[in-house]
């Protein structure tokens, strides 16, 4: 039965349906409503778990690490500065191959201070060795949260479920919450073979000399790459239980004969799809939404781009002094592929800047332009800036000719 729920509330209910043993909580906008809702479920006796209100995000991640290492299904949530404060713990969790789930309510990173949505926070920890899944809407946030617990225990890897702050977390949508029976049928009880147990003492987190560190990284890298199978399997199995899938590694939508592709992550996909419908006079683009950013689904991406002449990567973060982060990875995945489309990369929607329907027209225009935009921030309002910073778009968008 569908019910109107705020995104955070729906995510909290989804977490509760997964029967976590330990939840660590520290507030940060726009994540706060998630841990507040879980606290209320615990207070009302609807969720039996150890709810640990910690004194920082560093400790939120650490408590979850310790709990999972001791055999508990563990969960926490954060955003922005919180994710960055957790950074070393996130690396440690992944390196120790600790299965747990974290919701990242995506938000910009200071400075300047912004509480609003972009993807810089989860991009900042993309190399930590976590699985990162980006959600298109709140139904998918619910379904992905449930799948994430399954993927974590199938792979012995931590999973970060990325949901757009405010756009999803603070928005009411009709949500079909699964039943406890459905979730129990999909998600077996948490069993962690390497759990700390006095009957079978293990030393976890030992020093690794140069003789061993490389091998540890090799195993970890292989595990994240191989997680594509677990992600696809979890989505397929969940579809059988609930009737809803999330697209597995990535979702492709649009006419089969489209020549222009737009690649994005997160909730902006809905805006782009609506815009395409609302502007029939423009070419109908194939919209590719990466759901799994880590592992990066290079093979699936190549297949999704087959037949395209143009791909414009739209992302909500950047690597200053270089280019778009997703854009660079898409280029790398398509490099050397025969008949690969021209790839252009833009950032937009930074720090909560609205992404209106007209964005679609801008992206189509970019795809149709003869000059190639390696990277540009699309929606800068130059007239707000001092003269020195009004560098022309041409200087940012380094033109390197038509590569197609």
């Amino acid at each position: 039965m569908r019910q109107a729920l705020e995104g955070s509330q729906a995510i909290a209910r989804a977490v509760a349906l997964c029967r976590p043993n330990v939840v660590s909580a520290y507030p940060i906008t726009p994540q706060t409503h998630i841990v507040e809702n879980i606290a209320k479920l615990v207070a009302d006796g609807e969720l039996k778990c150890e709810y640990v209100s910690v004194e920082s995000e560093h400790s939120a991640a650490s408590v979850a690490l310790g709990a999972a290492a001791a055999g508990a299904r563990a969960y926490t949530a954060s955003a922005s500065q919180g994710i960055l404060l957790m950074c070393e713990v996130l690396y440690d969790i992944a390196g120790l191959r600790i299965p747990m789930v974290l919701t990242c309510a995506n938000r910009a990173v200071s400075a300047p201070l912004s509480i609003w949505n972009d993807h810089q926070d989860s991009m900042a920890v993309r190399d930590a060795g976590w699985i990162q899944l980006f959600c298109a809407d709140n139904q998918e946030a619910v379904d992905t949260t449930i799948q994430a617990f399954r993927i974590a225990q199938d792979t012995d890897l931590p999973v970060m479920v990325c949901v757009d702050g405010f756009t999803l977390t603070h928005t009411l949508e009709p949500i079909d919450l699964p039943t406890q029976q459905q979730v129990d049928g999909f998600l077996p009880p948490f069993v962690f073979a390497r759990a700390l147990d006095p009957r079978k003492p293990l030393s976890v987190g030992t020093l690794a000399t140069p003789e061993w560190f490389t091998e540890a990284r090799h195993s970890h890298h292989g595990a994240v790459l191989a997680a594509t199978d677990a992600i696809v399997a979890a989505d397929r199995d969940w579809q059988q239980v609930s009737g809803r899938g999330c697209g597995g590694l990535l979702q492709v939508d649009g006419p089969a004969d489209a020549r222009i592709g737009i690649l994005c992550m997160g909730s902006v996909v809905g805006t782009l799809q609506d815009a395409r419908d609302a502007m029939p006079e423009l070419p109908s683009a194939r919209i590719i939404r990466l759901r799994s950013f880590r592992p990066f689904p290079a093979q699936a991406l190549r297949e999704a781009c087959a037949g395209l002449d143009q791909v414009v990567v739209l992302e909500r973060a950047l690597s200053p002094g270089a280019m778009g982060i997703v854009g660079a990875e898409v280029r790398a995945a398509l490099y050397g592929v025969a008949g690969a489309p021209r790839v252009q990369s833009v950032a937009a929607g930074l720090g909560g800047r609205d992404m209106p329907l007209t964005l679609y027209a801008q992206l189509i225009a970019l795809a149709q332009a003869p000059a190639t935009t390696d990277f540009a921030i699309l929606d800068v309002e130059l007239d707000k800036l001092p003269a020195a910073d009004r560098y022309p778009e041409a200087a940012v968008a380094v033109s390197s000719g038509d590569r197609s």
Partner: protein, 339 residues
């Protein structure tokens, strides 16, 4: 060693399994030999005493530092209890998570958190404060060797006043560390702590008794164990116990117990030794014996600190020192259950 791979199975060429060994050993040992601590390391001795007294139904959360580094290098391990090292500053939080997990799963296992003074007084102070504020059922043991020894002897907020370290060296304009040692015990006790105590490796039976006391308390407990570091304090490794005992008998390191902040126990000093005996034994204080007015003033200052401790905690006492063998027969034994 190699607890990761061989627990419970006979090692090649050995006719007895580790499980059998464990059943037959006279007393439980959670931390065994073969590790790579320096000669005379107070921390290694203290960790052995603490795990021995705590018994087998424990799990250790270990902060980054000497203890973590010298006790493990994959694939070896000196630990015979479940042991988790995560990072430098999160031992309190890791321990909190482990305790929450055991609680949620109805498991009786007691969590021990081990950290040095850097991981406790300084970088790990926040997560320690969080853990004890939430009163997790964890015994937190700080092995206090009064500087960042693992990185090569840098001053911490536990380094005593006037001690020379590589970041508080003695020179023409400086006589070692200019600041006072942080009174971590009182700060910890201010968290409404059920039990917070100091101990010293020079008094192992007292240390064991305090561990057992803490193990019986449901809630956060804290033990600050004064642990000499021959490398950082610059004394002969064979003199560690002697030096540690002088720290106590001079009054510089009061051995006390605080319950909910109130003083409930103290180790009396039968014959107070002058602080110069303690200071002279260590290279880190040698600059205080220069023939200058400043050095003499510092010596007087340090003597005053010791005298203040003795007055403050009423340490002047009579009778014999606690016997080191006392309580040795009550350490927890291994057994089938823990094989």
């Amino acid at each position: 060693m190699s607890a990761n791979s061989t627990a419970g199975t006979p090692a090649a060429g050995v006719s007895i399994s580790l499980a059998e060994l464990r059943e037959n050993q006279p007393r439980f040992q959670g931390f065994v030999g073969g590790h790579r601590a320096c000669v005379g390391c107070g921390q290694a001795l203290a960790a052995r005493l603490v795990t021995e007294a705590a018994g087998p139904d424990v799990a250790v959360a270990n902060a980054t530092g000497c203890l973590e580094v010298f006790s493990t290098a994959w694939p070896d391990s000196a630990w015979r209890v479940p042991w988790l090292h995560s990072l430098f500053e999160n031992a309190g939080a890791i321990a909190s998570g482990m305790e929450a997990a055991f609680k949620a799963r109805g498991q009786s296992t007691k969590v021990l958190a081990f950290a040095g003074d850097g991981g406790t007084f300084d970088i790990g102070f926040q997560s320690l404060s969080g853990m004890i504020e939430r009163n997790h059922n964890v015994l937190y043991v700080c092995y206090d060797n009064e500087a960042y020894m693992n990185t090569g002897v840098q001053r911490s907020s536990s380094t005593p006043h006037a001690a020379a370290t590589t970041t508080s060296p003695a020179g023409r304009d400086r006589l070692g560390k200019r600041h006072m040692k942080k009174d971590i015990l009182q700060i910890v006790a201010a968290h409404h702590m059920p039990y917070a105590a100091t101990a010293s490796v020079a008094y192992p039976s007292d240390l064991r008794k305090k561990v057992r006391r803490a193990m019986e308390i449901e809630g956060s407990t804290f033990l600050l164990v004064h642990s000499p570091c021959p490398l950082g304090w610059r004394h002969d490794g064979a003199k560690s116990i002697e030096v540690a005992r002088l720290a106590v008998t001079t009054g510089l390191v009061p051995i006390i117990e605080l319950e909910r902040g109130a003083l409930t126990g103290s180790m009396p000093i039968r014959e107070q030794r002058p602080v110069i005996e303690y200071l002279r034994a260590q290279g880190r204080f040698q600059h205080l014996f220069a023939d200058t007015a400043e050095a003499r003033e510092e010596l007087e200052h340090i003597q005053a600190l010791a005298d203040y401790n003795i007055e403050r905690y009423g340490l002047r006492g009579s009778g014999n020192d606690a016997r080191d063998t006392e309580g040795a027969d009550t350490v927890r034994r291994g057994g089938v259950r823990w094989a």
